[in-house]
């Protein structure tokens, strides 16, 4: 997730930006997607990370529906959230009803039950908008250049791998009302809930997010809801509770996993992110 200013112009000036982004994309593709060919594709600075996730994952044996409520930390004006998803995904903006219902039945305050979450707790609400999907590397690179968000080579490589496996890259923007430009004092943002459904016969957990420069770990609450009992466990989060809940008049068996996971691509303290011919001090 990168800081993205978005196109600040319209009309012929925007058409010019589109042409420039197209030329830069062509240049990169001709050079095997090596960022050296067009350094403008680099993200200027990593300024946003998902700090915490509360997830409800409903699996009926054929369809998996994941409802997510994210808390992000960022310094900047406009941000975008990118993630690989099944090509057959159906995305919906949704309310917090599912979380309210499950937490009410469990006597839980959700992420507020986790002591480590307290430093992110005073979050302002943000809404995802301008949802897009990238089907090929060209789409991803073109959009990133056009909107000034940019990419990092390691993150690009990860997305390239996901696209090769037949996934799409889902992308959405969000912007906080109260902003910070100081990376040492980022703002905390709680996003409106988003639901994604796709067909699969097995539970498919989300992959670890890539480090965006703000927080090295993600706090998770994952609720797995199934119509029949299951003992499937999360790959790295501990099981903290089991029970039965009712959601939208359907009874479900619940397994709850709570914990912290590291992000992918972590670097040492004080080490600069990837950049055009970056010299590390």
């Amino acid at each position: 997730m990168d800081n993205s200013d978005g196109p600040s112009v319209e009309g012929p000036a925007f058409a010019e930006k589109v042409r420039e982004a197209e030329e830069a994309t062509d240049l990169l593709q001709r050079h095997n997607w090596d960022f050296k060919a067009s350094p403008k594709v680099y993200a200027l600075q990593a300024t946003c990370d998902v700090a915490a996730k509360e997830i409800i994952l409903i699996h009926d044996g054929e369809i998996q529906t994941r409802i997510g409520r994210l808390v992000m930390l960022g310094a900047g004006t406009v941000f975008n959230l990118m993630g690989p998803e099944s090509a057959r995904s159906i995305f919906k903006d949704t309310g917090s009803h599912a979380f309210d219902e499950v937490n009410r039945q469990l006597g839980s305050r959700g992420l507020h039950d986790v002591p480590a979450f307290e430093r992110f707790a005073r979050a302002q609400e943000v809404t995802f908008y301008n949802h897009t999907a990238f089907y090929q590397l060209r789409d991803l690179v073109f959009w990133s250049i056009l909107h000034g968000g940019g990419l990092f080579p390691s993150g690009f490589a990860k997305f390239a791998q996901e696209i090769a496996s037949g996934k799409i890259i889902h992308n959405a923007l969000f912007t906080p009302a109260i902003r910070s430009k100081d990376t040492a004092r980022p703002v905390s943002m709680a996003a409106t809930c988003l639901s994604v459904s796709f067909p699969t016969s097995v539970v498919e957990w989300m992959e670890k997010p890539i480090y965006g420069g703000m927080v090295t770990e993600t706090i998770h609450i994952v609720n797995l809801l199934t119509p029949r009992p299951t003992t499937v466990s999360h790959p790295y989060l501990p099981l903290t509770g089991e029970g039965k809940v009712s959601l939208n008049h359907h009874p479900y068996y619940l397994r709850r996993f709570v914990g912290v996971s590291p992000k992918d691509g972590l670097r040492g303290p004080g080490v600069a992110p990837e950049g055009p011919q970056t010299k590390l001090e």
């Binding site: 960022f35 044996g61 299951t230 003992t231 501990p238 992918d264 670097r267 040492g268 990837e274």
Partner: protein, 520 residues
């Protein structure tokens, strides 16, 4: 309605969810040795000694095809086998208080296959275990030496050598002597084992080290290879050079002095059935590379007079495991990705070589490359793991585990001040699968980036024939991926299951290093 998710983790057989298609060339089974450990990152658990589970993925071609997993837990004490295979009292004492039953085998690393027989091996400790692939049960432990009070454990080659007709397997086995005050663990009774894959007939030779490489503290051999020269069969042994300060796992995972490994070498032995003791010689030009931890290989010895050897050096202290503060002086408790007792990170960039020997003449090509984010299509050589020549022999496929700087232990780095990377000058390096031109050892650069794939699992094998071949990678977390060998940006199959990610009371860490294929 399929309800695969309701399967219990204790069920040893389950299906993967398959997307894409499985090509006919993959009809058979894929074998993956795994390590299992507690999810509790606070618990120290040396991966060498972890619980081993062998996975067999039965592959049925089609669109989408079917991939069914069978898990076989291996009892490291061999208590499920006849008494002659179990550990003696010496091994029990060497292993300390962690188990009262000893330690006979720990096959969590290598895959060696002949027909329906699998010999699975450890990276450093324990004897190979023999498994009947079709019945999916352990037959025996291949321990040919008798441990004693002073030398209570065994070490064996992870990756066997094969005669050109693949009827005969060769590997090394030796005892490991306990450390003494001021001295490290040492190998003893170095032996070469020959096994006829069809009849099971065996022969054992004692092995005498080359006079100029006679330190038995470093005499461990991760891989071996077979070749013929002057009409005689020979064996090459990759002398890895791991130096163990202690035979037993640490009682406390704290900083300790690390004895630096010497540069790796390759020993060459002429196999002579008329002798009981074979004299090894050094293969010229390898020690001079001054590289650490030579590990894996593939070879073309089909000419019957010399060979072309592809081998890699990890440049990592493979005798150690992860624990203690990292190179940034951060405590392990604050590093969420840290598991104490895991495989170590490299000290610096690894090395791949192409060594050709014909009619007494040798030539060496090297591939050693830093990761340049600006030119990521050039690849890198950080922590090379698998090395696999495609059936047609034109291309070489390699996996590289990359580098996670926060997982490099401070006390290990301190032992190599001349070799270790500057912590302030290095970032995360992503894992990589890359295709090389086997003749030049240069990346086989493809305009569509079809010559490489980043963030790929390190367990990899190439399957097929001279007409069509496929690259498979696997990890429990990312599942099985199948690519056309000619285009690594074109995945044709992806198969996953949450049951790969969690097993009984633990999960599979570190991720498996190798995967082997048994055609049906």
């Amino acid at each position: 309605m399929s309800l695969e998710y309701t399967a219990t983790p204790d069920r040893a057989t389950f299906d993967l969810y398959v997307r894409g298609s499985v090509p006919p060339e993959l009809a058979g089974a894929l074998i993956v040795p795994t390590s299992r450990r507690s999810k509790d990152r606070a618990a120290y658990s040396r991966w060498h000694d972890s619980q081993t589970d062998l996975m067999r993925l039965d592959v049925t071609p089609g669109k989408p095809g079917r991939i069914r997993v069978h898990v076989l837990g291996v009892d490291s004490t061999a208590a499920d086998l006849p008494a002659r295979y179990r550990s003696g009292e010496h091994a029990v004492r060497a292993y300390g208080a962690r188990t009262h039953r000893g330690y006979a085998t720990q096959p969590n690393h290598g895959v060696n296959v002949a027909g329906q027989t699998l010999w699975a091996t450890n990276l450093l400790f324990g004897a190979p275990v023999e498994v009947d692939v079709s019945r999916w049960e352990v037959r025996r432990v291949l321990a040919y030496l008798e441990p004693n009070e002073l030398a209570p454990r065994l070490s064996a080659t992870s990756h066997f050598a094969w005669s050109l007709d693949r009827r005969t397997a060769y590997f090394h086995e030796s005892l490991l002597q306990c450390e003494t005050p001021g001295d490290t663990v040492r190998a003893a009774e170095l032996s070469i084992i020959e096994v006829d894959a069809a009849s099971g007939a065996e022969r054992i030779w004692r092995l005498r080290p080359p006079p100029e490489d006679a330190d038995l503290a470093a005499a461990n051999f991760h891989s071996t290879f077979y070749f013929e020269e002057g009409g005689r069969p020979h064996l090459g042994l990759l002398r890895t050079g791991a130096l163990l300060e202690h035979l037993a796992p640490h009682s406390e995972p704290v900083d300790h002095a690390v004895c630096p490994m010497p540069a790796s070498t390759i020993w060459v032995v002429a196999l002579d059935p008329s002798r009981e003791v074979l004299q090894a010689q050094l293969l010229p030009g390898i020690r001079e590379l001054d590289a650490l931890a030579i590990s894996h290989l593939d070879i073309d010895a089909s000419s019957r007079d010399g060979f072309v050897l592809f081998a890699n050096f990890k440049h990592a202290d493979v005798a150690e495991d992860t624990h203690g503060p990292n190179i940034y002086d951060e405590r392990p408790e604050v590093i969420a990705e840290h598991y104490p007792g895991m495989t170590v990170e490299p000290l610096n960039i690894g090395l791949v070589i192409r060594y050709e020997r014909r009619a007494g003449q040798t030539s060496v090509r090297r591939f050693q490359r830093a990761y340049d984010p600006d030119q990521a299509s050039r690849g890198h050589s950080w922590l090379p793991i698998n090395i696999d020549l495609e059936p047609a022999g034109r291309h070489l496929f390699c996996t590289f585990a990359g580098f996670r700087p926060r997982l490099l232990s401070r006390h290990i780095a301190a032992a190599y001040p001349e070799r270790v990377i500057d912590p302030g000058q290095i970032r995360y390096v992503p894992p990589l699968l890359m295709r090389f031109d086997a003749r030049t050892l240069e990346p086989d650069i493809d305009k569509g980036r079809g010559h490489l794939s980043y963030t790929e699992p390190i367990a990899m094998t190439v399957i097929g024939d001279a007409r069509a071949s496929y690259v498979c990678t696997f990890s429990p977390e990312f599942g099985l991926r199948i690519y056309e060998a000619g285009d690594l940006s074109h995945m044709i199959c992806h198969a996953v299951s949450p049951q790969l990610m969690h097993w009984r009371d633990g999960h599979f860490r570190p991720e498996p290093a190798h995967i082997g294929f048994v055609p049906s």
